[in-house]
Structure formats: C-alpha cells, structure tokens
C-alpha cells in the first residue's frame, strides 16, 4: 500500500493482505541498496500465516519517494515513527544486513518497544571498504552489480533458484536499479559509520533469533558469530548459502522464523 508519510509517498508491502492491527506484526527492514522485494518469499508467507506484515521501502528506495536517510539512527527513528503512525502492536522486527543495524538501533533507542528481533545475515557492524564507497558514487550500477555478485553463494553463480525460472543476479540487479540515484551511497555510508552496535547488542533483553550464512561475503560469518555472542539470549543458525538467505534458502529461513515466533 502507498501512504503519505512525513510528506513523501511511502510504499509498504503487506504481503498482499490488509493490515490488521490486532495481529502480531512483523516488520521487515531491507538491506543497503535493497527494497521490499528483498522479502518476496517472506512477506506473503507470513501474511498468510496469521501475522500482520509490514515491509516498508525506505525513503528513496523501491516505490517510496523522498530522500534516503543518512544514518542508521535516522532510519531507526523513521521506522519507529512509521510503526507508531500505523498503530501496530506486538511488534517483531526482522532486519536483513543493514536492516539488522536498524533493528539494533531501534531497540537501543526505544527499549521495550519490540517484542522480538530477528537478525538475518547480521552483525553489530558493517564496515564498507573505500573502493565500494567510491564506486557507489562514481558508478552506482557497477557497485550494485558487484554487491549482487558478492552477495550470493553458488546458487547465484549457477542461477539455482527455488522460484522456477528466476535468476538471482538478474533479479537482484534490477531490484537495486529501482532505487533512487545515490541511495546506495547513502546506505553504505550509514552502515560504515554505525559504531553503536556493541552496546546495542548487549542491551537486547528480548529473545532474539539470528540466521547467518556460511558463505556470506558481505557480513562474514565470523563477524556474525562474534555479534550473536554479545546478545543475552539469541538462538543462532548457520545456513549453507550466501548473504541473501531470503532468496537463497527461503524455505529453511521461513521455517526457522516461524518456529521462533511460535516460541515467543
């Protein structure tokens, strides 16, 4: 659905269902250079499992207008305001990659706002190398293509997909192309500059779920494993794939999330 939020047309995926405030809400936060289409195989799945689903396109991403947020803190505040505006309850936040930093910050800034938190391909920090930062300014398309390539495991290389006929690379590149120019650079800088992850991770008091990837080249497994050790109560799983677990291993990921939700 499209709403007017903070003066800009904002797209919110709801998994094809009408938003129902009485249900537990799962809010999916996309990663750098991504949009709601990162969660094609989660949004409809959970919307049809009795949850209210919110998959916002951040400002300047996907079908949302507006200027991209410049810091993780700014994105977290934006998400908080959005959820307040939508008047949803019993909120579980699921972040992918940069979205994990947003989830961490949201929980740090607004303690007891969340009922659950799920980290997919997450870490407490996502340093970005200068080459990619520069490239995202000088040749955004090339930077996007590189991220799509690095972001996938062998399934990306070999065009293996559980969704018949779909190519991870072809689809991934075009999802990134939907975003407004320079949004990727904004996102990468926001990731690179975020330094509150350790404190934020330590402050999590609610049960968390982390699903990491063995062949993740964007948020390497080692970094993810150190991160989950900072969280008091975190159920952790490692899947044999690349950074984009949502499309590379959707069925296993969905079942892990579902089982976590049922335990809350």
């Amino acid at each position: 659905m499209l709403i007017n939020f903070k003066g800009a047309k904002t797209y919110i995926g709801t998994g094809g269902k009408n938003l129902d405030n009485s249900k537990t809400t799962i809010c999916f936060i996309h990663g750098a250079g991504q949009n709601h289409l990162s969660f094609i195989q989660q949004s409809r799945f959970f919307a049809n499992k009795g949850y209210s689903v919110i998959v916002p396109d951040m400002p300047g991403h996907g079908l949302s207008e507006g200027k991209p947020c410049k810091s993780i803190k700014e994105i977290a505040k934006w998400v908080y305001d959005l959820l307040k505006t939508l008047d949803v309850n019993n909120i579980i936040i699921l972040g992918h990659s940069q979205g994990c930093l947003v989830a961490l910050e949201l929980n740090r800034l607004y303690p007891s706002f969340l009922n659950g938190v799920i980290f997919v391909a997450g870490s407490n920090e996502i340093p970005v190398n200068q080459f990619l930062l520069d490239l995202s300014l000088s040749d955004e398309q090339k930077a996007s293509n590189l991220m799509v390539t690095w972001g996938h495991g062998i399934d990306g290389d070999m065009s293996i997909n559980n969704w018949p006929g779909h190519s991870h690379y072809g689809e991934g590149n075009n999802v990134m192309k939907m975003n407004k120019p320079k949004s990727l650079n904004c996102d990468l800088n926001a990731c690179n500059n975020y330094k509150d992850g350790i404190d934020a991770a330590k402050s999590i008091d609610i049960p968390a779920l982390a699903v990491l990837a063995k062949n993740d080249q964007m948020t390497p497994l080692k970094s993810g494993q150190k991160f989950v050790e900072l969280i008091k109560k975190c159920e952790t799983h490692v899947l044999d794939c690349g950074h984009f677990l949502q499309t590379e291993r959707p069925k296993v990921l969905n079942s892990l999330i579902l089982s976590y939700l049922l335990k809350l």
Partner: protein, 433 residues
Amino acid sequence: MGENYKFDTLSLHAGHIPDKETGSRAVPIYQTTSYVFKNTQEAASLYNMEVGGHLYTRISNPTVAALEQRLAALEGGASAVACSSGMAAMHLVVSTICSSGDHIVASSKMYGANINLLQHTMPRFGINTDFVNPNDPDAIEKAIRPNTKMVFGEVIGNPGLDIMDVPAISEICKRKNVPLVLDATFNTPYLMQPFKYGANIVIHSLTKWLGGHGIAIGGAVVNGGNFDWGDKEKFPTISGPHFALNGISFWEEFGPSALIAKIRAEGMYNFGPSLSPTNAFYLMQGIETLPLRMKKHIENTHEMLDFLQNHEEVAWVKHPDLETHPDYKIAKRILPKGSGSIIVFGIKGGREAGQVFIESVQLASHLANVGDAKTLLIHPGSTTHSHLSSEAMKEGGLTDDMIRLSVGLEDINDIKKDFEKGFRAVKKLGARC
C-alpha cells in the same frame, strides 16, 4: 561464490548443480505431472505464490525450471518461462500485456506466423497492430499511440534478414513508456543479448539454434526485469489488481519479475502451453554446446557467402554481414560476432530454377525449420509465406526466386559440393530452355 561465470560456462551449468541426493551430474528429467505436498500449509503456500516451488507441471516443473534459469542467465535477464513453442511464447506475451482495445506496433518484416497472429488472430480479440518498417525508428515512434502496449520485432528478421536498430528503438520505447519485445531466435544470446541494448522482453523459439538439433519444439519468454510496469492505467494486467490472490498487484509483489509471475499465474495456468520435461532436457543438451555450434555456424556461413557471391548461377545474395546489405552498419554494431547463419539468395532462372535446385541437392534437407546442426533449405514463397499475397510478400522483402539457407555444421567443402550438384541441375534446365 561471486564468480560471475562467463557465457560458455553458464551454457553448461546454469540452472543445475549436481543433485544432492543422487549425485546426478546431468539435469534429471522430472517426468511427472504433479508434486506431493508435505502438508496442507505447504499446498496453500504454493497456491498463494508465497514461496517458490512446483505445484503442477502445466505451471512449472524442475527440469523445465533448470532450462528457464539457464536461459535467464544466458540472456542476463531477471526470469524466464519456457513453453511449448516460440509461437506459444509470443502469444503468452501478447495476452499477458494486452487486452481488448489495446494496440501493438510491430515490424512489417517478420516470420509469417508472427504476422498472422497479430494481423488476423488478435484483432478478433480487439487487439490491433500497425505494421511498420523495422529499420525506420521515426515511423515506429509515429505509430505509437496512447493505447500502444508493446513494440514488437525480430532482431534478425525472418526471412528477409533485416536488422532492427535495437538501441535506437529501445530509446524511443523508453521515452514512450512502452516495452520493447524482441524475437531473438535468429541471434541467440551467443550473438547478441538484447537487454544490453535496452530491450525489455525477449522471446525465443528454442526449437532453432538454442536447441540446435531439430529434435524438440519449445519456446521461451525471457524477462529483462528492466521495465517499470507501475502505471496502473496503462498496464492494468501487471500492476492492477489480479483476479485472484486477494487482488494483488504483480508489480508491487514481484517487481522485476512481475511479468513472468503473471504469465505463470494466468497464461500457463489458464491457457496451458507447457513444455514437456523431456523436451526441456533435449533443449538443454543443445544449449550446452551453443557457443561451439554458433562459432562454427558463423564460420561456415561466411564461407558460404563467399561461395555463393562468386557463383555464376546465383543472381543475388543477402546477409547482414555483407557490405551490400542495407543494415550492414547496424549489424556490425550490435552483432559483432556475426549476424546469424541464415543466408537468402536468388537463383538465376527464377521460381522454376529454385525448385530444381532444392530438389537436386542431397546433403541439405528441404524442410520448414532453421537452426539445425544440419544444413537446411526452403523456398519461402511456396511454403512458410505461401499464405501471404504478392504485395504482402514484397512488403516483407520476399521474391519468387528466393531460397532460404540455414547453414549447418557439416564440413564446408561437402556443403559446397552438394550445392554444386543443385547448380548443375539448374544449368541443365537453362540449357534445355
């Protein structure tokens, strides 16, 4: 990981890794109509298009999916759907994008069945087409109306071998917010990948060079994922509410793959032009050697061009790699590896000489196909385009003496010797006259 494999490697591997349970190196043929659901929740998930998977082979099948994913990878597209023939692919695209009252701009120099579909069949359903010279971007732009839903043409026209100026036409389409749909059968992704030049949708007859061995009929729609279907007024079938699935918008739910998702949910579901898993396997066997075959096809084609141009019994030779071809410069620009392995030529002596030639060769087969590993010949005026009037044939660049040659992979000297037999018979005919 992150290997970005090259074309030759993808031709062999894309869409399949060795089966984890059986270790099968080749793509298994899943010769099944349906798939056992683990539970009712899984069944509901598949029906609701919540997650990927297979429900019924009319809609998708694991062997066919491997082929589709290989094609998407080779074209650099977002997604693909394979179907029973190239014409089924064409129909899927038209019927998914267009509704009654809509309009198409199409090349006037195309394969007879493509023209037939747009000129005679679709108007019965309220979809009308204006046919325009494919080499005239201005005329294409002028023909686009507010209700035009696609511009359609063939990268290399069949059988006239006109080359569409894809970069120029794609710019026009982008400006007018109309998808450019190209039949890329004659070039295959080995010679040219239309998405790199701004096309939005590619259709293939897989029966031809991609399959390459004349053993299986098949087609495919490959979606570039690079078209914005967000205008709900203009593209209601993709971005407007779907008749099922709680009225979702395919554009909002599936983004770059909205077209293919819609084709599967409506076209494959309601019309049922599915490809058999066994044929998908045969076609993939062909694709494994596509780069090798295309190199040799082009090599032999260039040899045959020299041979025919210098033959006293040949009146004229047409191929886009010849400087005499009106689209030579465009071909050089967008088809630098070569402009395909179809040659059209005229035999001195007209229609009768053409018939004698075709009936006198031994190695080359007289049949209605192209892109086989074997050399093929046909006389379009009496076969593929026989339903067209003389005026329509002329408009399509056809003449009575024209022979369409699909150059095969045989030893080039054997093809030449075979043709000499045909030319000797033509010469005898001339002597009798």
